[in-house]
Amino acid sequence: MIEQPIMVKICDIREESPDVKTFFFSKGNLRFEPGQFVMVWLPLLDEKPFAVSYLQNDVAGISVLRRGIFTQSLHDMKISGTFGIRGPYGRGFDLQPGACAVGGGIGMASLATLADRLPDITILQGARTASGIIYQNRFRGMKVCTDDGSLGLRGTVIDLLPEQLKSRTFQKVYACGPEKMLYRVVELCNRYGVGCEASLERYMKCGFGLCGQCDCSGQRVCLDGPVFTSAELSVMEDFGKMEITKAGERVIHK
């Protein structure tokens, strides 16, 4: 394999929320597993990791939250515009039926293809406000909560999860979102004796385990992760606590 971007053409764009757009492209012969990611390249600008959020026949999609210059540039793109992708990278989720998926904000994008493959899955999604909730039409039975109560239950997925864990026995809980949320999801799963897999986010450079930028307690989030089991996370001291800046400084997680 040669780690260089290939240019793909945008074949469709979907507005998932005021700040999230999904860009669809022909996936050619690339094979993606749920939880894996691609590095998306805008020539001369930058390159950043995105979860593959749709896998439909020959088409894949990435859902992009508008957050800075790079994502704004992506949001400005039109159908038949092109960007580079390389990957897929990382270790994805280990799929099991009878599971629960817990997504916080744009973290839901990492869980989406997993939810597509597991028809009996229970999905919980939380966001700050109603406009942050994505995939409402895609996952009809999804349970939703917002910090301000503008949609679904007022509160966070951490308020929603315990009653789910009490009401039935899940084979596994999958989670992606802000790391403080993930930390508490793992805590809850441990308390209820349910195995958990969480997908972490770190600033990345190479994407294939060489540069050391995305380290979390000796684990390379890009290659050893981004998905880690609760057992693995239990010995990763930086999980939920420390992250690494672009310059490489280990700092307290915001």
Binding site: L45, D46, E47, C211, Q213, R220, I244, A247
Partner: protein, 306 residues
């Protein structure tokens, strides 16, 4: 089966094998250094540290091609103050740790060396040879005999630790630069840094892939160059040489040691052969030696010379 001895003594630093994690590869945190030692590295080098924090170049910063890798990371690092915190309690790492120190002028090198002096580093490596970061290495004229002498002499005054000077393969006066380093008090030469710079263009985007456009070439493409540089240096300087450039198998390691290297660095090979590449290389070296009845690795250093 006779006992194979892979241990070497590099500038009075005992290494249980001659494989060293090269600078810039996974040397960002003490947790990763520890993991590399657990996976068989004889010593490890941290990612280069400057006086102030640096974010480096934008992505893409590392890509691969048929013959190796191209990188222009741009010396991202947290700066000396944060690095001194990160690289504490180095005795727990399990093998010698080498500090890679960079600067734009000789006072900066001294400042960083002093800033790290409370940590238990085993040696200081000074790369004067980066081909892709403005203000540093080749782009700052640090790869000349005079600049190398001046910087090495300044660092020599600031530390009693062994000093390794890391050289570029892309300069014609390689041996005179190495001699300048030796004359100024360097204890070893690290040969070589990435070569080039090179460039790769995406023909569909019609643009260079690296955000900095050009980057240093490492991996297989660099190996014959590195072997030649080590071979030439072995005849030019008396101090030990650490051979770096495209080493990914035990046979490569033996080859560069036969050219004259007392130890060797490994970087890109972690991509090609996995995080346990050091174990694999050591096993392969031991197997080769076993078959030929060589018990001590030090016996092969420089044997390719007439």
């Amino acid at each position: 089966m006779s006992k194979i001895n892979l241990s070497v003594n590099l500038c009075n630093i005992p290494l249980n094998n001659p494989g060293i994690l090269a600078s810039g590869i996974l040397g960002t945190t003490r947790a990763l250094l520890k993991r590399m030692v657990e996976n068989g590295a004889g010593a490890v080098t941290i990612k280069s540290i400057s006086k102030e924090p640096r974010e480096g170049h934008k992505n893409p910063t590392v890509i691969t091609f048929e013959g190796g890798m191209l990188n222009a990371v741009g010396y991202s690092n947290p700066g000396v103050e944060a690095a001194a915190k990160e690289f504490s309690q180095l005795n727990e790492i399990g093998a010698p740790v080498i500090a890679s120190v960079i600067g734009t002028q000789k006072e900066d090198f001294v400042r960083v060396v002093e800033g790290l002096s409370a940590q238990k580093f085993s040696a200081i490596e000074i790369p004067l040879s980066c081909p892709h970061t403005p203000g540093f290495g080749l782009l700052a004229g640090q790869g000349t005999p005079q600049a190398t002498f001046d910087i090495t002499a300044a660092v020599r005054k600031a530390t009693s630790l062994p000093i390794f000077i890391k050289l570029s393969p892309s300069i014609p006066e390689l041996c005179s630069v190495a001699k300048a380093a030796e004359d100024a008090g360097a204890d070893a030469i690290t040969a070589v840094n990435s070569m080039g710079p090179g460039m790769l263009i995406n023909i569909d985007a019609q643009r260079p892939i690296l955000s900095f456009k050009v980057g240093g070439v490492t991996g297989d493409a660099l190996r014959p160059i590195a072997i030649r540089c080590v071979y030439d240096l072995y005849q030019s300087v008396k101090i030990p040489i650490i051979g770096v450039g495209g080493i990914s198998t035990g046979r490569h390691a033996i080859e560069i040691m036969m050219a004259g290297a007392s130890a060797f660095g490994v970087g890109s090979a972690i991509y090609y052969r996995g995080i346990d590449v050091f174990k694999k290389i050591s096993d392969e070296m031991a197997f080769w030696m076993q078959e030929r009845g060589i018990t001590n690795i030090n016996e092969i250093v420089g044997v390719a010379h007439d």
